[in-house]
């Protein structure tokens, strides 16, 4: 379904993405991990067509989407949704309008510039918002919403596109743990219920282990790990992040600990 072959991106003289090759069949939830600058974002941006590739090809249903230009490239983009770290909504427009932007490619320019959406489109946008649990925010400006709500609006925009593939570039990196979980649960639901492929850049290992069917580790533009989340041991993680033995995952983990040692200690001091 998605066949990435030898995809390369060179900025100046440095290869940001270096001959990356992998293949995803069917609606999997794929996580890409690696430290900042490993080329994760560039890879996703090339898949969507936001950044042109230097070399290689990405085959989807028999055609190389890296070779598409102009309206064909935009038609591909409308079929391959992208979710950003900073949500990338239009802050001064209301939530429903932002969701309706998902089908800009399929409506005429005049109609969209004057905001003349059909009733059916508006009803569909509201139904998607309702599915994500934020229908009551519909008439508000996007900028008035919290980060977690804005990211769900961005996911709604992606769903409006009715895409086969959803690319998520650090979708939870600017969210607090509670909202991060809501957003990741939403993405997982879309993946399972709708059967859409989700490829997400993630920066925490516990998130990758919990949500992904498959994890790809990148380092300096190359794929250095490709396997099941259960194979993602601390040793492998050290390799991916290029860290030494001092690397301790728990130090920066945003997961809320399940142990109650601290609680018990607190209770003991209070009871003493």
């Amino acid at each position: 379904m998605l066949d990435v072959r030898q995809v390369t991106k060179i900025f100046g003289r440095k290869a940001a993405v270096d001959h990356v090759t992998f293949r995803v069949d069917g609606p999997a939830f794929v996580g890409i991990i690696g430290r900042s600058g490993a080329g994760k974002s560039t890879l996703l941006r090339m898949m969507n067509g936001l950044t042109p590739a230097t070399g290689g090809e990405i085959i989807v249903e028999g055609r190389d989407i890296l070779a598409l230009r102009g309206s064909e490239a935009r038609a591909w983009q409308s079929d391959c949704a992208m979710i950003f770290q900073q949500f990338n909504l239009v802050p001064r427009m209301d939530v429903v309008s932002n969701v309706l932007h998902g089908i800009l490619n399929r409506r005429s320019t005049i109609q969209t510039v004057f905001n003349l959406w059909s009733r059916a489109d508006i009803v569909q946008a509201l139904a998607i918002l309702d599915r994500l649990g934020i229908a009551e925010q519909a008439p508000k400006r996007a900028e008035a919403l919290s980060g977690g709500q804005q990211q769900r609006v961005a996911i709604a925009r992606a769903l409006m596109q009715d895409p086969r593939i959803i690319l998520a570039d650090e979708p939870i990196a600017s969210l607090d743990p509670m909202n991060a979980q809501i957003v990741m649960d939403t993405l997982k639901r879309i993946n399972v219920e709708d059967g859409r492929m989700v490829i997400a850049n993630l920066h925490t290992l516990d998130t990758a282990r919990r949500y992904c069917d498959r994890v790809i580790g990148m380092r300096d533009g190359r794929v250095v790990f490709d396997g099941l989340p259960s194979q993602l041991t601390t040793g492998v993680a050290r390799d991916i992040y290029g860290a030494d033995a001092g690397f301790n995952e728990a130090a920066t983990s945003t997961a809320i600990p399940t142990d109650h040692e601290a609680d018990d200690q607190y209770a003991a001091t209070m009871l003493a």
Binding site: I122, A127, D130, A135
Partner: protein, 284 residues
């Protein structure tokens, strides 16, 4: 969300869309109506009439270009002769822009809520820059020429006052979009107002200030040329003498136009590269 609740949100939003469309449509109709009626009134009051005069609109430029081409050999000489006047005009514009922008900077800081040293004086600073902007520079120049006599100084003062008003407004709009976090950071280490402004605000707004100032410099070159028409000296004075009909000096006028055009292009190119350096840093 329950089905009735969703239906409610849906009706509300659809009603909102309908309202917006009705208002938008009405606004468009009103706009077109005002535009058409305004044009008819203006055309009615016109001494000649718009439609009768329309075909003559190119006559003067055509005359000018024809005569300039006929006497093309004279153009370089005319240009060289006009250069001292051009330098005077440029100097007037430069000094006026510099003075006006410095005054405008203080006006803008005093007129921005959240940055002003005396928050109560914000409306005063705003009205002051309104007044500076409202008086046409040609009026100030005429009054000053009457009092101080002709020459570049009245022109500088006139343009600087107008510039200060305009920049006070534009700069304060830039200031309003400034990120207050660095200012708060400086306040947290005990910086005083001047330090907070100079070290926290100016670095953020400098590229914007610069591009507005350079745009203003272009406007002021033209303004200082116009003030030459009323006796402030410079290239405007030469242009007025050359442009008068029936003297056969259109080649001279064309030379001055070309010179002004070249100057504006030069300033534009210069300012573009300057702004680029300011926002992206010097080329390595």
């Amino acid at each position: 969300m329950s089905a009735p609740a969703l239906a409610h949100v849906q009706t509300e939003y659809l009603a909102l869309t309908r309202r917006r469309r009705i208002y938008g449509g009405l606004l468009l109709i009103v706009f077109v109506a005002i535009f058409v009626s305004g044009f008819r009134i203006a055309d009615g009051r016109n001494a000649g009439g718009f439609w009768q005069g329309l075909h003559q609109i190119g006559d003067f430029p055509a005359d000018l270009v024809r005569e300039a081409i006929e006497k093309a050999a004279n153009l370089p000489g005319h240009m060289i002769r006009a250069i001292p006047a051009l330098i005077e005009t440029l100097n007037i514009a430069l000094v006026a822009t510099l003075l006006g922008c410095i005054l405008g900077l203080f006006l803008s800081l005093a007129a921005t809520r959240g940055l002003a040293y005396w928050p109560r004086m914000v409306p005063v600073a705003r009205r002051l820059s309104d007044i500076f902007r409202a008086i046409p520079e040609i009026v100030i120049a005429l009054v000053l020429i009457f009092v101080l006599g002709g020459g570049p100084v009245p022109a500088v003062i006139a343009i600087a006052i107008h510039t200060a008003g305009a920049m006070g407004k534009l700069f304060s709009e830039v200031n309003e979009n400034v990120d207050l976090k660095p200012v708060e950071g400086l306040a947290s280490v005990g910086a005083n107002w001047s330090q907070r402004m100079w070290l926290g605000v100016i670095p953020q707004v400098a590229p914007n200030y610069m591009s507005y100032s350079l745009l203003r410099l272009e406007i002021n070159i033209r303004a200082s040329a116009i003030l030459g028409f009323v006796g402030a000296g410079g290239i405007g004075y030469e242009l007025r003498n050359a442009m008068t009909f029936g003297q056969g000096k259109f080649d001279q006028a064309a030379a001055i136009f070309l010179l002004l055009f070249a100057t504006i292009v030069l300033v534009d190119q210069l300012s573009a590269s300057l702004r680029h350096r300011l926002t992206h840093g010097a080329p390595a």
